[in-house]
């Protein structure tokens, strides 16, 4: 992992040529079956110390089953980058997995705020726009991108953003460095076994993250025929050659919602919101992560068919999600 420092701030940075070399040598362009269990995807592609990015949030289409698998495998010293770390930041910190977080929006509830104050996790403030732009820079193969925000704010000293003079007007412009995460987690509506993937509705930076990251793990509600993608190429969010592993994960966003598939489980979310201390956190983790072997056992023993049917029925807004 490449970490740089600007003053007090450490940030993930990789020379674009080094990332390109990785893409050339380590990313296969061949359409090969990549379907595997979450356990295997995480053990193969997520190492201690990795930088992980994901799209969207624990309430909406977040890769929650993958995050639980990371916790189950007790990965250490992870660095998380995300716009909305609503509950993920607390869970990954509480489980001892994450030690640094680039945000974005730090999350709900007292637990994560307390952990930051206690110095158990470091947070860097790139803002939502800044993080999305860092991934766009990574995807575009440029070492930085400029923006007319961040300027004048304390984010300039709580991130490694810099101010330069615009070469055309002399205007002060903020720049942020490209981000090349080790792994991107993307939970999608449909994928094929090669990794072609479709997200319905908006996304935060799905294609940017897939293109800019070393490894991409897709978890999908549904596995569809590869032919589907060629029949409707405007709907492809991620093409297979960016993807390293495909996990079939119905209810993979639970307890969050998967738009047009199932609604969020508010009582479960309230339990998450209510975690205030270490005991509550460890109880939650034991109950929902450590005590079940995998996502399927979690669904069977902790969620149950009745609740899943109910959440599916509640997802009555389907217009446009296709």
């Amino acid at each position: 992992m490449n970490i740089r420092r600007e003053g007090d701030i450490e940030y993930r940075f990789e020379h674009p040529d080094d990332f390109r070399r990785f893409v050339q040598e380590q990313k296969s362009r061949k359409a090969e079956p990549k379907l595997c269990p979450a356990k295997e995807a995480v053990s193969t592609f997520v190492a201690d110390g990795d930088y992980i990015v994901y799209d969207f949030s624990s309430l909406t289409r977040g890769p929650q089953s993958l995050i639980r698998e990371v916790i189950r495998q007790r990965r250490k010293d992870l660095w998380i980058g995300a716009e909305f770390t609503l509950h993920e930041s607390a869970l990954l910190t509480g489980a001892g997995c994450a030690t640094r977080i680039d945000v974005g929006f730090l999350g709900y509830g007292g637990y994560i705020g307390q952990a930051v104050c206690e110095g158990r996790v470091r947070v860097y403030e790139w803002t939502n726009g800044g993080l999305a732009l860092r991934l766009l820079a990574g995807a575009r193969g440029v070492p930085f991108l400029p923006t007319r925000d961040l300027l004048g704010s304390d984010h300039m000293s709580a991130s490694a953003a810099k101010v330069i003079g615009d070469p055309y007007t002399g205007l002060p412009v903020a720049v942020v460095p490209a981000l090349h995460p080790d792994v991107a987690f993307l939970h999608v509506h449909q994928a094929d076994v090669y990794g072609d993937a479709r997200i319905f509705g908006t996304n935060l930076f799905a294609l940017e993250a897939a293109m800019a990251s070393h490894r991409v793990i897709i978890s999908a509600e549904e596995i569809v025929d590869p032919e589907e993608f060629r029949k409707d190429p405007m709907r492809t969010t991620i093409p297979y050659f960016l993807v390293d592993a495909v996990v079939h994960a119905p209810f993979g966003a639970y307890p969050g919602a998967m738009p047009a598939r199932y609604e969020l489980d508010l009582p479960h979310v309230d339990i998450l919101n209510g975690i205030r201390n270490e005991e509550q956190m460890q109880t939650y983790l034991h109950e929902n992560v450590y005590s079940v072997a995998d996502h399927e056992e979690f669904l069977d023993k902790r969620v149950g068919a009745r609740k899943m049917s109910e959440l599916r029925r509640k997802a009555s807004i389907v217009e446009g999600y296709r």
Binding site: L59, Y108, E125, L151, P172, P259, G320
Partner: protein
């Protein structure tokens, strides 16, 4: 004879925010209370407002009830004009298409600078840590006029914010432009649970414009961490209307989860 209305401070804050919206304009809506303000306003006063959300929804028409805590769910994304992503959402605001932005805040200073990151201590060793910018920094940087929605507690109005999350007028007139922020932008109104503030055209200082009917302007400002200039004519803001309260209580937040707060009353 004047009827007395009972409502929470949060309900008042939302209702007066909703009345500020301008129809046929674009609004970049921040997370939380601003979402409720936008929903109430669009239902009652500004049907043709275009909401924009940082997660990529352009012009959604929200489904009620509001699902607490969520922003990107289908309820707040329904019947949009366009679904994109975050980099495109901020392109709309950066290139000047967003007339208004609306944001919550932990602290506000006399120049309308917003803190939503931490209270007390330092950035590396904060006293209490909160969510931070999200996209608030972009909204406050790009939109033509930013409306800040904040509970009226004296300690939230401070001479200097503990962390400058989203830019107001920074250190005063001309400072935004000097920093490189888009010209002609900045905070426009601060909507609180007791009052309405604007910003003086010359000094860019937070200025009391109006208070809830029945409140004494001096009482309203006395606990603030700085004494704001007072407008020559402090207007009086009517309490929430029956229709505003009905919509909030019956349709938007029937579970009364979000719109809690202290009870107040005023004559209708």
């Amino acid at each position: 004879m004047a009827r007395t209305v009972e409502f929470t401070d949060t309900e008042f804050m939302i209702a007066q925010g909703a009345r500020l919206l301008e129809d046929g304009k674009t609004f970049f809506v921040g997370w939380g209370i601003p979402q409720i303000v936008a929903i109430l306003g669009q239902r009652l006063y500004v049907p043709d407002v275009i909401q924009l959300f940082e997660f990529g929804a352009v012009g959604p028409q929200s489904v009620l009830p509001f699902v607490r805590g969520t922003m990107g769910g289908p309820q707040n994304t329904y019947r949009s004009i366009q679904w994109l992503n975050m980099n495109w959402a901020f392109a709309y605001s950066a290139s000047g298409y967003m007339d208004y932005g609306m944001l919550g805040a932990l602290q506000v200073d006399p120049y309308g600078n917003i803190n939503s990151t931490f209270l007390g201590g330092t950035y590396r060793n904060p006293g209490r840590r909160f969510a931070g910018s999200g996209g608030g920094n972009q909204v406050a940087s790009h939109c033509w006029k930013t409306i800040i929605v904040i509970r009226h507690e004296g300690r939230r109005f401070v001479p200097k914010v503990d962390f400058l999350t989203s830019p107001g007028y920074l250190t005063g007139p001309g400072a935004r432009e000097k920093a490189g922020l888009p010209a002609g932008t900045g905070p426009y109104r601060v909507v609180t649970s007791k009052a309405l503030f604007g910003f003086d055209g010359e000094t860019k200082l937070l200025t009391l414009l109006a208070v809830l009917r029945g409140l004494d302007p001096e009482d309203v400002v006395k606990d603030m961490g700085f004494r704001p200039p007072m407008s020559k004519d402090i207007e009086e803001i009517p309490p929430p209307t029956p229709e505003e309260l009905r919509l909030l209580r019956e349709e938007i937040d029937p579970s009364r989860f979000l719109i809690r707060g202290e009870w107040m009353s005023a004559s209708a």
